[in-house]
């Protein structure tokens, strides 16, 4: 049984596990504990099979030669439910399976919070359906099956987002998500149909390098359609408004899955279309994707800084990281245009490696936020604080996630951003036109984004976990049950492993880059048998995260010897925090999340247009106020400038159109009469 069949059977049993998970969760709805166990247990099992299937087919290079196999015989004539585990599909399949395992284990603990008032079985069922649909999206091999899986994914995500549909805010977020996602799918349908028109069949093999055969104008239209369609799902800036609305209201394990994997389907789509289908791209494609990526990155992090709702903050960070991934893809497209396949595959590896990293550390952060929510029942950072001493392990996991997302050295965020920097740097030399200025400028913006992300996560981690608890919820917080910690632990291990041993994963990218750009870079990028990561050219600069981690440990004796020499007799005393001799620090005196981001709000006033209202009530003199109400808002430019006016226009037009059906029989008769006369006069 050669490798291809092995991974195929494993894949089928993974999907089978998900289906069993759905059925099991629905069947045992009444017995909540059983439904939770069966549902998420099977999801975890499916995830494990998925990881082995994809990893094995990627590692053994079986992915490149894989044929598509029908999942089950299709009873509908021209629809073929074919799966093809090619390199790109396997890579993303691995991402979804890895997250599936970690999140399912986490959910075993998290869903206990829902016993009694919400139906855990339905949550388990839809969770499995989402995993199933996402895996099918990655592995589908014809447009029809892809669209079916895509819509199923959107549908199950909608049901999961509006799981706690008691609050109006959740319902609106769910509807906004589904409508924008479906408008995106509309563009995808049109795009695929245009490809179908050009290629004659639905199969993805038929679409390969179809772009070169299509007329330029139509090819650009197809590209724009796919950019919009997948951009909506990925959360690119102009089309991102659903993301900060939908993720916070969803249950935490779901928002982790959505942030980790769902928005990656958009990236998968873009990669599949731009690199596999549309052949060598014109230059403006790459420039557009790079610019949108940069804008998404900067705006994403700037808006994240202004949030004091933990999960909205993480949602905006998803937009930022998607921006970074798009920068990688955009750069790769520009290199493909200027005929530098090696550099293109470097940029592509940077983008896709960041996809994997983001999936891991964003899910980890959402799980952390979920744990905080589970313990304190609030997402508002202004009521949290001091959780480090009460939730020791969640704090550690969240810190690892925070360090990873801020792209700080030993962990995986740094590695993928380092690769992105390398590709942007080497990109400067590829053309002589002024376009090459974009690379260093977007590099500078990436640096700004990285630093702002670090600032944002100092705020998020510091205000939530350190200092004194600001509300009594935070004061009574207790550590979350073990499965939740295990879920986070797996992702922490993944973060550390991805960070310290990037060269191991580069080998997995070989079949992928060979399929998309025809290059194989893992030898070129690894030095010193896997410990050092090189940027490509000989003296082009290297980095070795294991080396950095090792040296950080080896340098530890320096402070220890200093301690031994000088400070052996020094003691430690626990005392109150220094408060300039006042009567003692109250939790309200601590720096709040809003306060922390105040300098940046002042600096970027033009973008945020901050508004603050202070209402003062006093009895007899304005100088002795009895109550003070302070409110500060940051204007979400896209909502107030683009989407709200658009929506208002549409509704006003529809209301005006309603006057057509005003109830008078005469008017209706006149409509028919006029139509008859028009036809008689003009049509004959």
């Amino acid at each position: 049984m050669n490798m291809n069949d092995f991974s195929a059977t494993l894949l089928t049993c993974a999907l089978g596990a998900y289906v069993a998970g759905i059925v099991g969760a629905l069947l045992f709805q009444r017995a909540e504990k059983l439904a939770n166990g069966v549902g998420f247990g099977l999801a975890a099992a499916g995830g494990v099979c998925g990881i082995f299937a994809c990893a094995s087919s990627l590692a053994t290079g079986a992915a490149t030669a894989s044929q598509s196999f029908a999942l089950f015989p299709s009873l509908i004539p021209y629809v073929r439910f074919g799966l093809r585990a090619d390199a790109l599909g396997c890579f993303f399949g691995m991402v979804v399976s890895l997250l599936g395992v970690a999140l399912s284990i986490y959910s075993l603990g998290y869903v206990r919070g829902y016993y009694g008032h919400k139906n855990a079985g339905v949550l388990g069922a839809f969770f499995n359906l989402l995993l199933l649909a996402t895996t099918l999206v990655f592995l589908a091999d014809n447009a029809f099956f892809f669209l079916i899986a895509w819509e199923l994914m959107a549908l199950s995500a909608y049901c999961l987002v509006s799981f706690e549909h008691e609050h109006a805010e959740t319902r609106n977020a769910g509807v906004l998500f589904f409508i924008m996602s479906h408008l995106g799918t509309g563009c995808l349908i049109l795009g695929f149909l245009l490809l179908f028109q050009a290629s004659g069949s639905y199969g993805f093999e038929g679409f390969h390098a179809l772009g070169d055969k299509m007329p330029a104008a139509r090819r650009n239209v197809v590209f724009l359609l796919f950019l919009i369609g997948f951009g909506v799902k990925a959360g690119m800036v102009p089309l991102h408004i659903w993301l900060p609305a939908a993720h916070p209201v969803a249950p935490s394990n779901v928002s982790a899955l959505m942030s980790g994997v769902l928005i990656k389907t958009g990236i998968y789509g873009l990669a599949r279309v731009c690199f596999d289908f549309l052949g060598t791209p014109p230059n403006w494609w790459g420039v557009t994707v790079l610019t949108l990526g940069t804008i998404s990155a900067v705006l994403g992090v700037l808006y994240a800084l202004m949030e004091h709702d933990l999960k909205r903050l993480l949602a905006y960070h998803s937009i930022e990281n998607i921006g970074i991934i798009l920068m990688g893809l955009g750069a790769a497209l520009m290199f493909l245009h200027s005929g530098h396949p090696v550099l293109a595959s470097l940029a592509l590896i940077a983008g896709l490696y960041h996809t994997l990293n983001h999936a891991v550390f964003k899910a980890l952060l959402f799980l952390g936020a979920g744990a905080v929510l589970h313990a304190t029942h609030t997402r508002n950072m202004e009521d949290l604080g001091g959780l480090a001493k009460r939730m020791r392990w969640t704090t550690l996991c969240f810190l690892v996630g925070a360090v990873a997302i801020s792209a700080l050295p030993p962990l995986n965020g740094f590695v993928s951003e380092w690769l992105t920097y390398q590709s942007l740097l080497q990109g400067f030399g590829t053309t002589t036109s002024l376009i090459r200025l974009m690379f260093p400028l977007s590099g500078a913006m990436l640096a700004l984004t990285g630093a702002l992300a670090a600032a944002c996560f100092v705020k998020a981690f510091g205000v939530t976990f350190l200092g004194q608890p600001r509300g009594d919820h935070a004061r009574q917080a207790r550590e979350v049950p073990f499965p939740m910690l295990l879920g986070q632990g797996i992702l922490v291990a993944a973060c550390v492993f991805l960070g310290l041993f990037p060269t191991v994963f580069l080998k997995l990218f070989d079949p992928l880059t060979r399929q998309l750009t025809g290059q194989q870079l893992s030898q070129q990028l690894t030095m010193a048998d896997g410990l050092v990561l090189s940027g490509g050219p000989a003296q082009g600069g290297t980095v070795s995260t294991p080396g950095i981690a090792l040296m950080l440990l080896c340098l530890l004796p320096v402070p220890l010897t200093l301690w031994a020499l000088f400070a052996r007799r020094a003691g430690t005393r626990i005392g109150p925090t220094w408060d300039c001799g006042q009567r003692g620090l109250t939790p309200q005196m601590q720096y709040t999340a809003t306060g922390f981001s105040k300098p940046l709000r002042m600096i970027f006033k033009a973008l945020f247009r901050p508004r603050r209202e202070v209402q003062r009530e006093y009895d007899f003199s304005p100088y002795f106020t009895t109550t003070l109400r302070f409110e500060s808002h940051v204007e979400e430019v896209f909502q107030t400038r683009i989407y709200r006016p658009l929506r208002w226009l549409v509704l006003r037009a529809s209301r005006r159109l309603r006057a057509l059906q005003a109830g008078s029989l005469q008017a209706y008769l006149i409509y028919i009469f006029v139509t008859l006369l028009a036809l008689l006069l003009f049509a004959l």
């Binding site: 899986a149 109006a168 509807v175 179908f196 028109q197 209706y668 028919i672 049509a683 004959l684």
Partner: protein
């Protein structure tokens, strides 16, 4: 062995029997029995049609080709589900005093007649008889619409009958002109008015006369089919009629008029060999789809929203036929089937909601129907998702077939417009249903009545059928649809 006549006679008999029977439960059973038999006969007819192409009886007076066989199936399925649902529906209505037992009897008499009329339309070979049958269905449904005798239902019935009869008068003018064209060909003998005869001589008919005939038929039958701008009666009639009737109206009666219009379209294309009739159908179809979307978006009444959604689906089916490539016509026929399975469920659920909340205004029903009527809400959610074209259900399949057919025949702009219209109505319906079904119950309003939810067997039958046929298209059904598609495309 006679097949077509029993299809007509059985519902007729059931209708008349209901006059004599006392107990409403028996009348409902009669209805179910009648349409059960017709469904069985329909299946037999399908096998016959696949075997012999066209089945005729009474020397060609009744004839059934693939298209009419398919219509018979749709009519009997929808009517069966309706009568299944109507039994318990009217029990509750009578208990609530909304309608007198006399009226219930009127319902159970008229519905089988309505069904019989529809059967006659699809089986009649003679265009004149077809017209009379459509007139018959119109008249029987008018009294059904006016069943509740409220001010609004009378208003709806009046508009329905005036606009309907006017439309049919124009349709009659179209039929007369067709017949005139036939007479012109051989003035001496009295030509037969049969459809089969007409098709055989289509080549020699006078094109100008046929154009005029098609124009009148288009306006006439278009009004009955609810194509915009002649659709104005549709939301009023479908929202004011009792839910079983509006299910039949929306589910299949619109398609009957479309069937008649199709006959004229086939005839005109066969005679003119030009895109004359296709262009009109395309224009009216697209116009209906685009007109429905804004109304759905700002709709305040549940059944009116469902009516506009039917308008949009009929528009899509009409555009599907108008694109005139075998794949799109096959898609449109498939869409007819799926829509006939989906829409009644929505109306049954609306009926349950109407009887529980005594209103159809979104404001009054408010959020949280899921908490009050869980089974109805789930059925409505599933049917709603199907109606807006989401994959697990067949409508997505048929919509995509129509679109891919359109693109395969290089009519890209039209397909793009169809897609835009579908997206627009998707947003409207999703937003309204989400606001209605989800959410916590607001204070006051009926408590969640735990009694056995009604109409479940009917809804289950239809939803089960929909899910079954979304996944599995049995070979005979496929052959039938291909045969019908060739018929419409003028290639058989």
């Amino acid at each position: 062995m006679l097949l077509l006549t029993p299809i007509l006679i059985v519902p007729l008999l059931a209708g008349l029997l209901c006059l004599t029977v006392r107990a409403p439960r028996v009348m409902a059973a009669l209805g179910v029995l009648a349409f059960g038999v017709t469904l069985g006969l329909g299946l037999a007819l399908v096998r016959q049609v696949l075997a012999r192409g066209v089945v005729t009886e009474w020397r060609g007076f009744l004839s059934a080709d693939a298209l009419s066989a398919w219509m018979v199936l749709l009519i009997s399925t929808v009517s069966l589900a309706t009568s299944l649902y109507a039994g318990r529906y009217f029990e509750r209505d009578v208990a609530a005093g909304a309608v007198t037992p006399g009226r219930v009897r009127e319902f159970f008499v008229l519905t089988p007649l309505f069904g019989a009329g529809m059967f006659l339309v699809v089986l009649a070979n003679n265009l004149g008889v077809m017209w009379a049958a459509v007139e018959g269905t119109a008249l029987s449904s008018v009294l059904l619409v006016a069943l509740y005798n409220r001010r609004t239902s009378l208003e709806a019935a009046w508009k329905y009958v005036i606009l309907g009869s006017l439309g049919l008068a124009l349709a009659l003018m179209g039929t007369v002109f067709v017949y005139a064209a036939a007479c012109k060909r051989n003035p001496d003998s009295l030509p037969s008015f049969n459809w089969s005869y007409m098709m055989s001589v289509a080549g020699q008919l006078d094109p100008r006369l046929l154009k005029l005939a098609f124009v009148f038929a288009l306006i006439g039958y278009g009004t009955k089919a609810g194509l915009a701008p002649m659709h104005t009666w549709l939301p009023d009639a479908h929202s004011e009629a009792p839910s079983p009737t509006s299910a039949m109206l929306s589910g299949v009666s619109l398609k009957i008029a479309l069937y008649a219009l199709l006959r004229f379209h086939i005839l005109t294309t066969a005679c003119l060999h030009s895109d004359f009739s296709r262009g009109f159908l395309l224009g009216f179809g697209l116009f209906s789809m685009f007109l429905a979307a804004p109304f759905i978006l700002v709709q305040k009444n549940l059944k009116r929203m469902l009516a506009y959604s039917s308008l949009e689906h009929v528009g899509l089916i009409c555009t599907g036929f108008a694109l005139n490539s075998p794949v799109t016509i096959f898609g449109a026929l498939l869409h007819m089937g799926y829509h006939a399975l989906t829409k009644p469920v929505l109306f049954f659920a609306a009926g349950n909601i109407h009887q529980t909340f005594h209103s159809l205004e979104f404001r009054v029903i408010g959020p949280g129907v899921m908490k009050v009527l869980p089974v109805t809400a789930i059925a409505m959610a599933l049917a709603g998702l199907a109606a807006i074209g989401l994959p697990p259900f067949g409508l997505f399949l048929s919509e995509l077939t129509i679109l891919s057919g359109g693109l395969a025949s290089h009519q890209t702009t039209v397909s793009a417009l169809i897609l835009v219209a579908l997206l627009a109505s998707f947003c409207g319906i999703l937003q309204q249903l989400a606001r209605l079904l989800l959410g916590a119950r607001k204070t006051g309003g009926p408590a969640s009545d735990a009694r056995h939810p009604d109409g479940v067997p009917a809804m289950a039958l239809l939803l089960g059928g929909l899910l079954l046929f979304s996944v599995w298209l049995p070979a005979p059904l496929l052959a039938l649809l291909h045969q019908a598609a060739d018929l419409i495309g003028g290639r058989s």
